[in-house]
């Protein structure tokens, strides 16, 4: 009788103990938090025709406009690198918003890389931009898993 009572206790206690053993989805809030820089491209990711278009983007940190930026540069190149822009400072508007007008002379796939940083954080996202008609080379590049790199120059921070 004693043994069976003890066994019931074990069963109930096991159910109780095992019920609360998942890692909380917000457990990360209990530990060290980073404040990564984020980029939001505000301009379109595709233009139907070549010509002059303005790149428009916003930099955020912890949900707010990024402050204390040490540098914000932009590079642009297309697949065959017949159109390139070396690292150039983007134009700051207000509240962490930046613009850069550029003449996309030829149709095709372009890469627009932002290189921005504070004293402690650096980001370098590269957006793909479709301008007008895509060639076969553009399509192959889009479907490739190898990132396109900006090896065209400009110093890195």
């Amino acid at each position: 009788m004693m043994k069976s009572k003890l066994m019931y206790m074990v069963v109930f206690a096991l159910i109780f103990v095992l019920a609360g053993c998942e890692t909380r989805s917000d457990a990360n809030t209990l530990y060290k938090k980073e404040q990564p820089l984020e980029v939001q491209f505000l301009s379109k990711e595709a233009y139907e025709k070549e010509g002059e278009h303005t790149i428009h983007f916003k930099l955020l940190q912890d949900g707010q406009s990024a402050k204390d930026l040490q540098f914000t540069h932009i590079s642009i190149w297309n697949v065959d690198r017949s159109v390139t822009l070396d690292m150039t400072a983007a134009l700051e508007e207000k509240d962490g918003t930046f613009t850069f007008p550029f003449d996309f002379k030829k149709p095709g796939l372009y890469y627009v890389q932002i290189h921005a940083g504070t004293k402690t954080e650096t980001i370098s996202p590269t957006q793909r931009l479709l301008v007008g008609k895509l060639s076969k080379k553009d399509i192959d590049a889009l479907q490739s898993t190898t990132p396109s790199s900006n090896s065209g120059g400009g110093h890195h921070h």
Binding site: V10, N28, P36, F41, I123, T126, I139, T146
Partner: protein, 447 residues
């Protein structure tokens, strides 16, 4: 009082006997595999030094170029990780998955020459680790090893009780010293009990440091501790890594582009390139991540790059997650960012593996492993010489009403270690429904 003590002694002895019979073969496997695994660095250096060593040259290829070499040579495979070369004369390592198999490709970082493509299944120390952790049978093996480990706790508690010097004993013989001149029976008993008591702290330490690793108790324990904010931060042991924070758009959804691209409907082409490995390496260096780390590639469109390093000393551990589209550092967890329980567990693991304090750590741990084998063998020998023929030789249990405290202790252990709890239920049911009802079994088990 004397009758109560004697009855309790018999009950405890019976449980010690059955726990010992159950754990003995597994404990030998754990001790031998564990003792071998302690010397993993030396063994792997001896086996693989020709894959590790390269001649130093002036310029290394960048990380993306190295990975491109491997991808080109093995186009059917998927690169899953990259471990940069950690010294001027060390190769880099590329993790490759081909079908169900995984490989490590050792690469000369200067010339891009593939030195060796090693099937990870052929890595003997990984197989030994698998045997140690899960008896090479996956989840069931992991649970069995955990069950055995928990029952060793019962073995230690009951063993210490059985060993404990009774009031009449004044000399040290039979407690801390083996009696060689008190006859064969005393010698057989001492060869088991005396080394066992000397090793108690070491065995208990190995259990305490190994259990947080286990698949059931360990995972649940880690979750509970992480949830308190005093354990490992999430994603290192339990919990998920963050997703990349960059909001992507799907270029195949651009109407006129989709017609041109001609990709299957399920294909997504994000409007962001994945950040290069070279950028990830640069970010790691900026953050002071020590050499010897590995970069794991994102597995999904929302996934992250993971930089991880679990070197010899717990204090040098790093786990970082980086947005795959921007390279932004989303988490950067070092040992100093663990809660106090996380630090204790991390230190326990490196001590358990013998890496924290180098050779002295390895030697002390291997002595404990050798001692475990001796204690198990002497226990088996003790039983074999004592047991009657045609019976198991289990000590008869004492009266249950003199052992309430002991049974309550077992229940508590069964709650703290649920697999022990489950096995206690199985034992109770087997005892009640089968053994006590079949005369032959009742006699065999001395029930």
């Amino acid at each position: 009082m004397k009758k109560k003590t004697t009855e309790l002694y018999k009950t405890v002895w019976r449980w010690h006997f059955y726990a010992g019979i159950f754990v003995a073969p597994f404990l030998i496997v754990l001790a031998i595999t564990g003792g071998t695994y302690l010397f993993k660095p030396q063994i792997e250096q001896a086996l693989y030094h020709s894959y590790y060593e390269v001649k130093e040259e002036s310029t290394k290829m960048d990380a993306d170029a190295q990975v491109a070499v491997v991808q080109k040579q093995y186009p059917e495979g998927t690169v899953t990780s990259f471990k940069p070369s950690s010294s001027p004369t060390r190769s880099s390592e590329v993790g490759l998955a081909e079908g169900d198999a995984t490989y490590t490709v050792f690469l000369n970082p200067y010339s891009g020459e593939v030195i060796k493509k090693l099937d990870n299944h052929d890595r003997i120390m990984d197989r030994i680790e698998e045997l140690h952790g899960e008896l090479m049978v996956g989840t069931w093996g992991d649970r069995l090893v955990e069950l055995v480990t928990c029952w060793v706790i019962v073995l230690i508690i009951t063993g210490v009780y059985l060993w404990f010097p009774r009031k009449s004993k004044k000399e040290k013989g039979g407690t801390f010293l083996i009696r060689f001149n008190k006859g064969e029976r005393a010698l057989r008993r001492d060869l088991h009990a005396v080394p066992a008591v000397w090793l108690t702290a070491g065995i208990a330490f190995l259990i305490a440091t190994g259990l947080p690793w286990s698949g059931f108790w360990g995972t649940n324990f880690q979750s509970i501790v992480t949830n308190t904010g005093q354990g490992y931060p999430p994603s290192i042991w339990t919990g998920n890594p963050p997703d990349s924070v960059t909001q992507t758009k799907d270029l195949t959804k651009v109407p006129w582009a989709a017609e041109t691209l001609e990709v299957p409907k399920s294909t997504i082409i994000p409007n962001y390139e994945r950040v290069s490995l070279t950028t990830i390496e640069e970010n790691a260096e900026k953050r002071g991540v020590p050499e010897g780390y590995k970069i794991v590639m994102p597995q999904t469109a929302e996934g992250v790059y993971t930089i991880s390093a679990f070197p010899n000393k717990a204090q040098d551990e790093v786990t970082m997650h980086l947005d795959q589209y921007t390279g932004a550092v989303l988490t950067d967890y070092r040992y100093d960012n663990y809660g106090w329980m996380g630090k204790a567990i991390a230190l326990g693991i490196t001590l358990h593996k013998g890496t924290q304090f180098g050779l002295i750590n390895q030697l002390i741990s291997v002595l404990i492993c050798v001692g475990i084998v001796l204690v198990v063998c002497s226990g088996i020998y003790l039983w074999w010489k004592r047991k009657p023929s045609h019976q198991l030789g289990a000590p008869k249990s004492g009266s249950a009403r003199h052992a309430y405290g002991f049974y309550i202790l077992l229940v508590i252990l069964g709650i703290i270690f649920p697999l022990v709890g489950l096995s206690l239920i199985v034992i109770f049911l087997l005892d009640f429904l089968v053994i006590h009802r079949v005369a032959r079994l009742k006699k065999f088990f001395n029930a």
